[in-house]
């Protein structure tokens, strides 16, 4: 079975999914319980007959976010519907888990209701949120594989101000996003070179106390930055 009609986990479903995840962490051979996706005791229906194809392979987190946005675009007020995102996490679990280096941090897969500020680190919800908010521009944060929590995502998820601002996304794009000869997107910033995206995030966190960075233009933001950051503008892929 590779196609499902979109549902959302109810309270029991979310609990069972989390229990499965905890078991999986202890024993990587634990089979993925796809049967939960259809279990009437664990799921509730959502509006419309939305087909989700779990055989679909995604080249990048961007492609994944785009797919989710296409599927979820007609649903209202789902931002805080953890049941939908947990259900989708299970649908694509074999593509999401583990990370490329074996990463299996729980907040990447489970939305803790008592800690919504950690939701920005969820592998499904964040990709959906970034694409649905910024559409094609979200590529700057989502160039890596779907199971790879990228450095760029780690940087912008540091604060809701950063990951909700289109201007800041434009600034990241101008500084660090390039396309190679085959038109593949690539991030040129390197962690061992000064003025990288991690340092930019720290710099912006200080600026946002003093400047209204959400409503500033890219040029105005660039004027605040030092040469370590501006040097990236001239760099090619």
């Amino acid at each position: 079975m590779t196609k499902f009609i979109l549902k959302k986990f109810n309270e029991n479903g979310e609990k069972k999914f989390e229990e499965f995840f905890d078991r999986k962490l202890k024993n990587k051979k634990t089979p993925i319980p796809f049967k939960y996706l259809l279990d009437q005791n664990l799921t509730d229906s959502v509006d419309g007959e939305i087909e989700i194809d779990n055989s679909k392979k995604f080249k990048s987190a961007y492609e994944f976010g785009k797919y989710l946005d296409e599927k979820l675009k007609d649903l209202k007020n789902i931002r805080f519907e953890t049941g939908i995102f947990h259900w989708l996490t299970l649908v694509f679990f074999d593509q999401l888990f583990p990370g490329p280096s074996g990463g299996s941090q729980k907040i990447k897969y489970i939305l803790n209701k008592k800690s919504p500020s950690s939701w920005k680190k969820h592998l499904v919800r964040l990709r959906w949120e970034l694409y649905s908010q910024f559409k094609e521009k979200s590529i700057v944060y989502l160039t890596k594989e779907m199971n790879n929590w990228s450095d760029e995502e780690e940087s912008i998820s540091a604060s809701p101000t950063l990951n909700s601002s289109e201007t800041i996304l434009d600034l990241y794009t101008k500084l660090y996003l390039r396309y190679d000869n085959k038109k593949n997107p690539t991030i040129i910033s390197k962690r061992n070179i000064s003025g990288n995206h991690r340092e930019l995030t720290k710099e912006l966190s200080i600026y946002q106390l003093n400047f209204d960075i959400n409503r500033m233009s890219v040029e105005e933001l660039l004027n605040l930055l030092g040469p370590d950051f501006k040097k990236w503008i001239k760099q090619t892929a």
């Binding site: 939701w119 106390l209 400047f211």
Partner: protein, 299 residues
């Protein structure tokens, strides 16, 4: 606030006594809206002091709404022409220019930040994260404002409780800011039924008051918490024989689980409940509601 303050910005206060408060925000969980009152005189005085050349016409006010990692922005006009709700002469007026819906946000966990900026995008004033007052209907703002004091406890719709209703403390990670709360189960509609049926209000609120008081008496290190202190002061005023401090000393020196149900403390709590029922005329409201029901059924 002094940290990294390059723009001489001032801090806007919200969790402080009414006469010093710059910003008051309430959230109606039933109407899924927020209401905001700005004390413009106070705010202007502060900003002018740090920025004598202030241009009120071009200085903008923004309200940022946060829920976890989600941020939404609402414009509140300029310092010259601000958009904000107001209360005067027992009249609460909403400003229709404010986009106040919280439909896309989980209203129970929302927080706010106010930012005032000039044309150079410098922040002239800002608040830290504002936790709103949670109310049922917007009319409850009148009660808060009329009494010039904090309500004894807040009400909140919760999807984390299993019972129809429960009591507890909001902000319980910070003892100085904990607030006594009645939680209503989000799956039920009890909060709005309380609005229309005083009998339900009396049954729930009287017992909730009793249980919250018992829990407040057990709390330690809450001297700085004005919500808890107001609650305890209210109870103490109903009693002549026993002081809160004496109760807390007794509890500290004995087995607290046994002591809190001792006849002496039970009497203290009962007296406070009696005062609560009397002050808010709850028994009278119950009786009136019952009579109205009888009249309706006879008709």
């Amino acid at each position: 606030m002094g940290k990294f303050n390059y723009t001489n910005r001032v801090e806007l206060f919200w969790d402080i006594d009414d006469d010093q408060r710059d910003v008051f925000i309430a959230v109606s969980s039933l109407e899924r809206e927020f209401y905001i009152m700005l004390n413009l005189n106070l705010i202007l005085k502060k900003i002018r002091k740090n920025h004598p050349k202030l241009n009120e016409q071009t200085t903008k006010i923004y309200c940022e709404i946060y829920r976890g990692a989600f941020r939404k922005e609402v414009q509140l006009g300029t310092l010259k022409e601000p958009y904000h709700d107001s209360y005067s002469g027992n009249n609460f007026q909403v400003d229709d220019r404010i986009v106040r819906t919280l439909d896309e946000i989980d209203v129970n966990r929302v927080s706010f930040r106010i930012i005032i900026t000039n044309t150079n995008n410098q922040i002239l004033a800002s608040s830290n994260s504002i936790r709103p007052f949670f109310i049922g209907k917007k009319e409850e703002i009148k009660t808060i404002k009329q009494n010039k004091e904090l309500p004894l406890f807040a009400t909140k719709i919760s999807d984390e409780i299993q019972h129809p209703w429960d009591v507890g403390f909001e902000n319980d990670t910070d003892k100085s800011k904990m607030i006594p709360v009645i939680y209503f189960n989000a799956k039920l509609d009890i909060a709005s039924e309380c609005e229309t049926d005083d009998r339900l209000t009396v049954v729930i609120f009287s017992y909730a008051f009793k249980e919250l008081l018992r829990r407040c008496l057990l709390l330690s290190d809450v001297d700085e918490n004005k919500h808890i202190q107001e609650f305890l002061k209210f109870a103490e005023q109903a009693n002549t024989n026993l002081k809160v401090e004496e109760i807390q000393q007794q509890i500290a020196s004995t087995n607290e689980n046994e002591e809190i149900y001792s006849p002496e403390i039970e009497l203290f709590i009962d007296n406070a409940v009696a005062k609560y029922l009397e002050q808010f005329q709850l028994l009278k409201k119950y009786e009136n509601a019952r009579q109205n029901l009888n009249i309706q059924s006879e008709e």
